[in-house]
Symmetry: C2
Subunit: 530 residues, 2 copies
């Protein structure tokens, strides 16, 4: 039964009298269940202005033509206007018996709503109803917008809604496993509280992920995934504008993918199969299929036991592959322009989102050059050497030396985004093209943000005989990649490409310390839920 | 050894003399291997103008600044200009010993290239080299553009290139499993040939897929996947413009997905897991995570044994989910505007591609209305009844009755795109919201193109208790979807959404008869390669 459904009351006065009597009785009954928020008081003459919306009204019963305003849109331009908003009760608190303050949140934006007893408009029961709404319940609020003289601290929108009607759409359980306000706090807040001798609840990363649906509601998380969407979209639009075709390659593969051990295996209708650890082989086949320039955005799967801040068992790969006319620098040119454009676009179009992230997780804007710095691997090794760090000139860098080199590059060139190319062949996959002048090196590159690798790219071997030899040398069973090798026998253009982890780009651009923060529902060796 | 590398010849005359002698000998040697295409004739003074490019020159040796022109861009504006193009030798044929005709193809576009013996420019050996190039080999061709007075039948571009230089970048094996010209033929060509008593090679669907990399090179296939990219891109841009956020949900799930039997199972670090058969549960959780409106483009996996023209074991799902304020018609409104916009966009921006598809696979343009027709399931049943076809009013339509209804709708409303809504609850998934006035029906819809279902959508149940009851009634083990059910306990807005199969949209818009034609590397119960 709802307030709305009983809008046609008989006699207002008689009802009011009866209401006072029954209200006492009801209070008694309800005192034990403060969290219960029904407006089940048939005798409040203003009962139609609040209450729980009954289910049938939420089952597509009617189209009324009412218009809702987004909380994030509420500003001074709505002054004195009546608005209808739908959102969650972030907090509700009573001030005496006549006033309730609600903070209503929608997609990370919050507005303060005031319910004040007023004759013919708002009853005490309504204030009580509003006060009793459990946190995170969904509500419809109707009211008049006002602009207070002073800044509103507890909400993002600098207006107040003077509530005329409030209906509960969906009730949250009274005890939530995570409190959104706790989950939204910055380190600075914890420090301030600690200094003041206060003890605030800290929500650790694992608890956040277990209750991810609640965790996602924080302003920072709302922003992180909007930024991620922007990066992906910009990646796509830029490449399409440069003649790339978006493709989709299969994730189910016969055999064992590129031959690595770290694949998820499964049975495909009786055939041993695995999940693709990258779209590498199929995107190269698309090049041999004459698409010229292709990209793919899709999940890649790694069964590795890497319990680090930067590895996931499933993540979104941004992959590109293109014919090259002469030199792998053509691929690096695309990477260069693409990422500078992405960074520019984020800084220009996502200020609101970056601010929301920064509020909880402060970070310095990424330093990058208009034209991306390119160093050879040998130059990188030399820089490390001069700083007293010896690395194998034909080996790979590790996480630590990469980070150190990042610091040296930042100091010398004032950029946190750069390309390191001409890697030793021995540390690159079998399909990497060796250098023309020294087979110990390869036409390959990695790209770094803030000292961490985010992109790997290279010219590929397009000669089937060399590909076979290289695969064998790398311990790959050539018969498991037969159709791939064969595709080079039908004429294959010189080509190259690169792969990026979407979650890493978001993590490193925003200097977040854990890739689990940038995956909606992360999968790591310890976690396959929710 | 290459022509290019030997550009510094000693004495031209002496060389010429010696060349004649050696040429005779060489011809003898080569007569047995007509397909061998080396220009290994050190004594042709014009040898620098042709030959096989040696590998080091293709290993990023140098950046010369040369500019290549795309074959598809070649038109009259290039008249008398020198161009450099890279493409494949689709055909090469000799006319006597002094002329060779090459048809060079790049991304489905073709241009005729003529190699004619000319003093100081083109030698007979060069003509021979050109003639001997195997089909599908990659070549660089330099020459002068001319515009012939008559239309060129054998190529898409209406200009000719008078070749000055031709180098082979990558040789195709002489015997290809598929000939691109055979793979590109329309039914009409077969009929015409048959009438003329000619026998043409027909490449069946399975052979095409086994040698997909060759099959993809036909103009129709080049166009099909460009159209697919456009559809996906328009889907994305439209939804972003309407406030949707692009998300990625995990494909690896604990338990058994939505509870159906048709899932691929695997072991996830010791935990029984499966591949998501749709992003349904996670996209709904994203709504409960406050994203308001989300969409996802990604692979979905079905282990069903459906050997039909319209089922795949892995396909690309276009999924959307959104809060609804009042009615599931809000979701249908999005579908309506989205698809009309997609169809308009294809017809406006993909004329070249649609023409290329139509040339091999003729089809009528899709008939659709500016505002999409909506019929209730009951109205559909009634239309079928009036046409003498009885169907269970509380059952589902099958492929045949769907097709029949499509014909009736086309006749009556002149549209091949329409929405059928208010399906019987019994034939919809557990998460479908029942109708407010009759629990035998549901707030759901399907969308049809040319009589085949492409979209399923509905309002979802947002009340955890009802969701649990419905799941149990549908035989789902509720404990396997615990985090999903729980996400509705923390306040859940009314919401709805829909899912589309990308390959089906392409297939039905272009009236292709097999979904394998619109999947780059299709996966069906019989096929997991290439």
């Amino acid at each position: 039964m709802s307030g709305r459904r009983r809008s046609e009351c008989s006699s207002k006065k008689a009802a009011k009298k009866e209401a006072v009597k029954l209200e006492k009785q009801r209070r008694k009954e309800e005192s034990a269940a403060a969290a219960a928020t029904t407006a089940d008081d048939g005798l409040d003459p203003l009962a139609a202005n609040y209450g729980d919306v009954p289910l049938p009204d939420l089952q597509s019963k009617a189209v009324t033509g009412r218009k809702w305003t987004a909380v994030g849109d509420l500003d001074g331009s709505f002054k004195d206007k009546e608005v209808l908003v739908r959102g969650r009760v972030q907090t509700s608190r009573a001030v005496g018996k006549n006033i309730a303050f609600l903070v209503v949140r929608e997609m990370g934006f919050t507005v303060q709503c005031v319910v004040t007893v007023a004759p013919e408009l708002v009853s005490r029961q309504m204030v009580k109803f509003a006060t009793g709404l459990s946190r995170e319940s969904h509500v419809d609020v109707e009211g008049i917008v006002s602009v207070p003289g002073e800044p509103i601290k507890g909400a993002s929108q600098q207006v107040e809604v003077h509530v005329r009607k409030v209906y509960c759409i969906s009730k949250a359980v009274p005890n939530l496993p995570i409190n959104i306000e706790d989950a939204a706090r910055s380190e600075a807040e914890f420090e301030r509280a600690s200094e003041a001798g206060e003890q605030l609840v800290r929500v650790n990363q694992d608890t956040r992920l277990t209750h991810r649906v609640l965790d996602l509601r924080t302003p920072a998380n709302q922003a992180i995934f909007r930024v991620q969407c922007q990066i992906e979209n910009f990646f796509r639009q830029f490449l399409i504008s440069e003649g790339f075709v978006g493709i989709h390659t299969p994730k189910l593969m016969a055999g064992s993918s590129e031959g690595g051990a770290a694949v998820f295996r499964l049975d495909y209708k009786g055939t041993p199969a695995c999940l693709a650890q990258s779209p590498q082989l199929h995107k190269q086949m698309a090049i041999n299929g004459d698409f010229g320039r292709v990209f793919e955005i899709g999940p890649v799967f790694r069964a590795e036991d890497s319990n680090t801040h930067r590895h996931l068992c499933e993540f979104i790969g941004l992959d590109a592959e293109m014919e090259i006319k002469e030199h792998y620098s053509e691929v690096m040119d695309v990477v260069d322009r693409l990422f500078v454009a992405i960074f520019d676009s984020l800084n220009e179009n996502c200020q609101k989102e970056l601010e929301a992230i920064r509020k909880q997780y402060p970070f310095e804007p990424l330093k990058y050059l208009r034209r991306t710095l390119r160093l050879t691997f040998q130059e990188g090794v030399q820089m490390l050497k001069e700083a007293g760090i010896e690395v194998d000139p034909l080996g790979d860098l590790n996480t630590e030396t990469e980070r150190k080199l990042g610091q040296l590059v930042l100091k010398k060139y004032n950029t946190e985004f750069y390309i390191l190319h001409r890697y030793p062949l021995a540390v690159r996959p079998f399909y990497t093209m060796p250098c023309f002048d020294d087979p110990a090196y390869s036409n390959s590159f990695d790209v770094f943000i803030r000292g961490e690798e985010i992109i790997s790219g290279a010219q590929r071997v397009h000669v089937p005989e060399i590909l076979t030899t290289r695969a064998e040398a790398c311990g790959i069973k050539v018969d498991t990649i037969g159709p791939y090798i064969d595709s080079f026998r039908y004429g294959a253009p010189p080509h190259g490409g690169f792969g990026v982890g979407l979650e890493r780009v978001v993590m490193l651009f925003c200097d977040l310390n854990n890739i689990r923060k940038t995956s909606l529902y992360p999968r790591d060796p310890q976690r396959i839920t929710p």
